[in-house]
């Protein structure tokens, strides 16, 4: 049994807007006996600057990895984008000597060196692999058997498949199994692995809104009472932007979008207040009243 202790990489979107994800994750991990250590002096994972300057992305990511190496702890990331970037750069720098030399050339200027001694995991990997489904099941006090939900795993936690390699990128099952152990029913729907579109919303809003609308439509079609996400960026697209989508396309969805940590927290006997349900933009009180 590995020691369940990780450096928490929070990223930027969570402290900026989605603290409900952080609050619920910290509570759930604590109760499962997973220790998270704060990460001093971390910076943006680097992903937002990849389109501008690839080397800048590599060095920002590598600096974060060096901070984790200094503490000799593996990273747990809550955001798909942060996970995808840190994990990809970590693997590339470990495998590609020439690239490592170039990035270490930059890092030398700030007194750091990438050594390649840690690994990067996403929250659902930690839950599915390190904690394990059995242990989570043991901690479920109030099985959510009344609920029928749909999951949105998102992109960077499964793709590129060759780089991530944790779940099947064509048919990811980790989040589905994590949902099933809470007692809730996880419904299949059309185009489950489709992107939320959020990364281009600053350049073109129309396309991401259409993509998100389509996903909400598919989820509504199978009768899901809620959508479950594991990324703050995806969450923003479906929760924060849901009223905008409704206005733009003259539709009513009213589908609550929960972080997986909130769903698990409910099953572990925590109250919606403790799990920051009040921060959700789409009202979930009807859903909660079913429990």
């Amino acid at each position: 049994m590995p020691e369940l202790k990780y450096l928490l990489f929070m990223g930027c979107v969570i402290p900026y807007r989605i603290s409900s994800y952080e609050i619920s994750t910290r509570k759930v991990l604590d109760k499962l006996g997973v220790e998270v250590v704060e990460m001093p002096e971390f910076n943006c994972c680097g992903l937002p600057l990849d389109p501008v300057n690839h080397d800048m992305m590599l060095t920002l990511a590598a600096r974060n990895l060096c901070l984790a190496e200094q503490q000799n702890l593996n990273i747990v990331a809550l955001c798909n984008g942060c996970f995808g970037t840190l994990n990809h750069v970590n693997k590339e720098l470990k495998e590609d000597r020439k690239l490592r030399e170039r990035v270490n050339g930059y890092l030398k200027e700030i007194g750091m060196e990438f050594k390649g001694t840690i690994t990067v995991k996403h929250l659902i990997y930690v839950l599915a692999k390190d904690v394990g489904f059995e242990k989570i099941k043991d901690n479920v006090q109030k099985p959510l058997t009344q609920l029928r939900v749909a999951q949105h795993t998102g992109c960077h936690v499964i793709r590129p498949g060759k780089v991530v390699g944790f779940d099947d990128p064509e048919n990811p099952t980790a989040l589905k199994t994590l949902i099933k152990v809470t007692g809730a029913k996880c419904l299949d729907y059309m185009d489950e692995t489709e992107c939320c579109g959020a990364p281009i919303i600053g350049v073109n809003a129309e396309i991401p809104l259409q993509l998100a609308r389509e996903k909400l439509d598919h989820i509504r079609a199978v009768g899901a009472q809620a959508m479950i996400t594991v990324c703050p960026f995806c969450h923003m697209m479906y929760d924060l932007n849901q009223s905008r989508i409704e206005r733009t396309f003259n539709e009513k969805f009213r589908i609550p979008v929960l972080h997986y940590s909130q769903l698990l927290g409910l099953a572990m006997g925590m109250s919606p207040d403790e799990l920051a349900f009040k921060d959700l933009r789409v009202d979930a009180s009807e859903l909660v009243s079913l429990l």
């Binding site: 930027c12 979107v13 402290p15 900026y16 807007r17 603290s19 952080e22 609050i23 910290r26 704060e38 990460m39 001093p40 002096e41 971390f42 910076n43 943006c44 937002p48 600057l49 990849d50 389109p51 501008v52 300057n53 690839h54 080397d55 800048m56 060095t59 920002l60 600096r63 690239l99 930059y106 200027e109 700030i110 992109c155 960077h156 793709r159 590129p160 498949g161 060759k162 990128p169 064509e170 692995t193 489709e194 992107c195 579109g197 959020a198 990364p199 281009i200 600053g202 350049v203 073109n204 129309e206 396309i207 991401p208 259409q210 993509l211 920051a276």
Partner: protein, 183 residues
């Protein structure tokens, strides 16, 4: 942006006859030297990327296969001045599905990097870069949110090492680029 009249005008322009003077035969070599873009010449135009691209389904202009073909042909100016290269949402479906392992999304990233170096970038990226330089975070986190963290029982948000971040902006050449394109 790309779905506007401007985009339409550009699209019409792109459909015009190719002139030999528009083509830069060295461009494919320039691109294939960039990490991630090495396999650009392996694309045999099957179109799997475009067929499986979520953005292409909702855009009349964004076609990953076309961007790769234009790169192979060396239509550098058209590519680097096009709004369309900024529409990839980096879902990486094209990377997973490509039978030739071409790394389409990485090639589009390389095109964006070149376009930034030689021309300009969408304003949202200037904002993100400026935020990271000023705070270490991609977004300006309001004072109110920081206070609310304490009320919610969350630990203080760590302060980034701004000296380190500024140094990295300088040595990777990003500071110079930002200076050139203006904010």
């Amino acid at each position: 942006m790309a779905e506007t009249e401007k985009g339409e005008a550009k699209e019409t322009e792109q459909r015009m006859v190719l002139k030999i003077t528009d083509v830069d035969p060295r461009f494919k070599y320039e691109i294939s030297k960039i990490p991630g873009a090495e396999k650009v010449m392996l694309c045999f135009q099957c179109g799997t990327c475009t067929a499986d691209c979520p953005i292409a389904r909702f855009s009349d202009f964004y076609r990953p296969r076309k961007l790769i073909r234009m790169t192979q042909l060396g239509l550098k100016d058209r590519l680097l001045s096009s709004d369309v290269i900024w529409l990839c949402s980096t879902c990486f479906t094209c990377i997973d599905h490509c039978p030739q392992d071409v790394g389409i999304a990485d090639i589009i990233r390389a095109l964006r990097n070149l376009s930034v170096r030689e021309r300009d970038m969408p304003v949202v990226f200037k904002e993100l870069a400026s935020n990271i330089l000023k705070t270490g975070y991609a977004y300006m986190i309001p004072e109110l949110r920081l206070k609310k963290r304490a009320e919610e029982g969350l630990p203080l948000l760590p302060k980034a090492n701004l000296e380190n971040v500024a140094k990295l902006f300088d040595i990777t050449g990003l500071s110079k680029i930002l200076e050139k394109v203006g904010t």
